[in-house]
């Protein structure tokens, strides 16, 4: 039971972080399908940092540097979307899809090259970070508390305050609802959209590293992040683009995802004898059903997905 709670909380943290990232990007008016790729990049940055930090570094330092590395890489990678979508008015769905493929491919090529140069017989795309992962964990009576859970809560509070209580946040939302109107009162729409996409890079990168340290101590980068970025998008839509609702949605989805990991520990569930793929499918099926009932009154930012053109009326 404790294990279920632990997994629920950690997966919910991942979904919350990434979905908040998507929320910022969409409120600025840019659809970010590329969250999956951003997560992979963030995971790569963090994993590399954990691998190369000298053994015996203080835990606080490991956590800080790892988080910073993943944020940095995620942000840089999100620039790809920002440049294409904002300056070159590219199709945002297309660019996001390309970023997902590119993220996994680039990470795999890089990690394989690194592994092979260290040891010619090693052609795997796996990075191990057993020591680094321990720095994130605090054992409280059998419950493995992960510092990232705290990070996710902090991110939620900050996101709520920034979006609703600051000038910046309100301007950001204006750019996603009616960029022409925002521009007419002197808001730089391009700069706001850059801010939105880069924030999604920060949170997406962070989500990536949290995801790979959630349950395991090595990661095979050929697998990417197994659709978690997409699940986060569903969480964002289910949360109607509002941080507090997103948090609740993340908990719900995190619970179903965690169930897939630990169902064999429950007598009732294992006696049902369902194949494991049923549990893997569950979060997606539920999100589809939920979306079917909630999308009618969708509160999506009005101008999302439409490139802003100053010259257009």
């Amino acid at each position: 039971m404790l294990l279920l709670l632990q997994y629920t909380l950690i997966f919910a943290s991942v979904l919350l972080l990434v979905a908040l990232g998507g929320c910022f990007s969409e409120h600025s008016g840019v659809i970010n399908i590329g969250l999956e790729g951003i997560m992979v990049m963030g995971a790569l940055g963090g994993a590399l940092m954990m691998k190369f930090l000298p053994e015996g570094s203080p835990a606080f330092q490991v956590v800080l540097l790892t988080v910073l590395a993943s944020i940095l890489l995620g942000t840089i990678y999100s620039l790809l979307l920002a440049v294409a979508a904002i300056n070159f008015r590219a199709d945002q769905t297309l660019v996001g899809t390309a970023m997902n493929l590119l993220g996994t491919a680039a990470a795999t090529v890089f990690v394989k090259a690194m592994n092979t140069s260290a040891d010619p017989d090693n052609v795997s795309s796996t990075i191990q970070y057993l020591e680094g992962r321990k720095a994130f964990l605090v054992n409280i009576g059998g419950f493995e508390f992960n510092w990232c859970m705290l990070l996710a809560v902090i991110a939620l509070v900050i996101a709520y305050v920034v979006l609703y209580k600051t000038r910046f946040g309100l301007r950001l939302c204006a750019c996603g609802e009616h960029p022409q109107a925002a521009d007419s009162v002197g808001i730089n729409v391009y700069r706001m959209r850059y801010a939105g996409v880069l924030i999604s890079g920060v949170l997406g990168g962070l989500g990536g590293i949290v995801y790979i340290i959630a349950g395991v101590s090595e990661w095979k980068f050929e697998n990417g992040v197994a659709g978690f970025g997409f699940l986060a998008l569903a969480v964002m839509i289910f949360g109607q683009w509002k941080p507090t609702r997103i948090a609740l949605a993340a908990l719900l989805f995190g619970f179903f995802r965690a169930l897939g990991n630990v169902y064999s520990g429950f007598d009732l569930l294992s006696s049902l004898n369902l194949p494991s793929s049923v549990y893997n499918m569950l979060p997606y099926i539920i999100s589809l059903v939920v979306l079917a009932f909630t999308s009618q009154k969708s509160r999506a930012p009005k101008a999302e997905g439409i490139p802003y053109d100053k010259g257009q009326r």
Binding site: I33, L80, A84, F88, R89, A90, D91, T93, L94, V95, T97, A98, M99, N100, L101, L102, T104, A105, A106, T108, V109, K112, A113, T116, S117, P120, V123, S125, E222, N223, G224, A226, G227, F230, L233, A234, I237, P275, S277, V278, N280, M281, Y284, I285, S287, L288, L291, A292, F293, S295, Q296, S298
Partner: protein, 368 residues
């Protein structure tokens, strides 16, 4: 013409960036590796081997072409069918289960794949038309659902010792697509079947359907402006569902063309949606969103993907060609920008030439 130039520019830039990445990893073999990727089957010295591996590339081009047609068809109607990947997966599941589990002949398996893909596509279409669910999101969810579903289904017909499904040859040779002597043309490559000419016929049919028929006109009109189409008495809801069903059927058929040739077995422990459907997006955009252009762009993308398998494994990984095709998709986002600036440049030149002519004429007039 501009589309062709823009696509070529994407390819060149993609290869260039790929080359730079190779240089960064290991400068010693970079040029050789990029040449290997571009050469693909020409890597083999003998003519017979070249023909055979050319055949292999074609075998995998067929499903890619179908996926790109699926994406293209939906895009023309204003829908982004990112679900081609899932429709491809469910097509593979349906065709293989019909072939291995039920022992049906190839044409039934092919139809089953088309039907399964169409149903999956129609689900997205219905959700879009009646429940206002964004087709991109529902397609992504369905991609994963169908992957796990097919893995579970095909576990029933897999070999006991490995995660792969039975081979068609040993279980049900009737389910293999007929070759009609085509294989003999490629130094007896038995995987070359009627699938390849069939997909080309399909792409021509898609072109005709989209540009020459009333239905195609209605579908495109719905894509341009749903409300205008509705006002003109077109059934916009039906059109959206029909489009997604057709797109899904195309992708499902793509899977059948590959898996019913016996070229590959399904691995029931796959944890990622196969890239074929996503590469279809690349092929569709690279082909300038034209069904005939798709034939060439699909071949090109498969060509470099296969070429990636031959790079020197001690230095680079085969994923380098995935990297290049991902870069090409990314650059396809800029195609519109390329086209606009190319047009602007051509217009400017035209204007200059005209004004130059005028000037020359007026000078002439002045002299006379």
């Amino acid at each position: 013409m501009q589309s062709l130039l823009a696509s070529l520019l994407c390819i060149l830039l993609g290869l260039l960036i790929g080359y730079i990445v190779l240089l960064l990893i290991n400068p010693a073999g970079a040029w050789e590796a990029i040449c290997t990727i571009v050469e693909n089957f020409l890597y083999y010295p003998s003519g017979a081997a070249r023909l055979r591996y050319f055949g292999n590339t074609l075998v995998k081009t067929a499903p890619l072409l179908m996926c790109s047609l699926s994406v293209l068809f939906a895009y023309k109607v204003g829908l982004f069918n990112i679900g081609a990947a899932g429709q491809y997966v469910i097509g593979a599941g349906a065709s293989l289960y019909c072939a291995l589990g039920m022992g049906l002949p190839w044409y039934v398996c092919l139809l089953a794949a088309i039907a399964a893909g169409a149903v999956l596509g129609a689900i997205s279409g219905i959700l879009k038309a009646y429940r206002n669910v964004n087709e991109v999101i529902s397609c992504i969810m369905l991609n994963w659902i169908s992957l796990y579903l097919v893995n579970a289904l095909l576990t029933k017909v897999k070999e006991t010792a490995s995660p792969y499904t039975y081979t068609l040859e040993s279980t049900n040779p009737d389910a293999i697509l007929p070759s009609l002597g085509l294989g003999a043309l490629f130094s007896n490559n038995k995987y070359v079947t009627i699938a390849i000419p069939l997909t080309i016929v399909v792409s021509i049919c898609v072109w005709v359907l989209l540009t020459k028929t009333k239905l195609g006109y209605e579908l495109r009109a719905t894509g341009c402006n749903k409300y205008a189409a509705q006002y003109c008495g077109m059934k916009e809801k039906r059109n959206i569902i029909l489009t997604m069903a057709i797109a899904g059927g195309l992708a499902g058929m793509g899977a059948a063309t590959l898996f019913l040739s016996g070229f590959e077995q399904w691995q029931t422990t796959q944890s990622a949606v196969p890239a074929m459907g996503f590469n279809g997006i690349a092929a569709a955009f690279l082909g300038g969103l034209n069904p005939i252009g798709s034939i060439f762009s699909s071949y090109f993308i498969q060509h470099i993907t296969n070429g990636g398998a031959y790079v020197d494994k001690t230095m680079y990984s085969a994923q380098i060609s995935d990297l290049i095709s991902a870069l090409i998709i990314y650059l396809c986002g800029f195609v519109l920008f390329f086209k606009v600036s190319l047009n602007g440049w051509l217009d400017q030149r035209e204007e200059k030439r005209r004004s130059g002519k005028k000037q020359a004429e007026s000078e002439k007039g002045g002299k006379a």
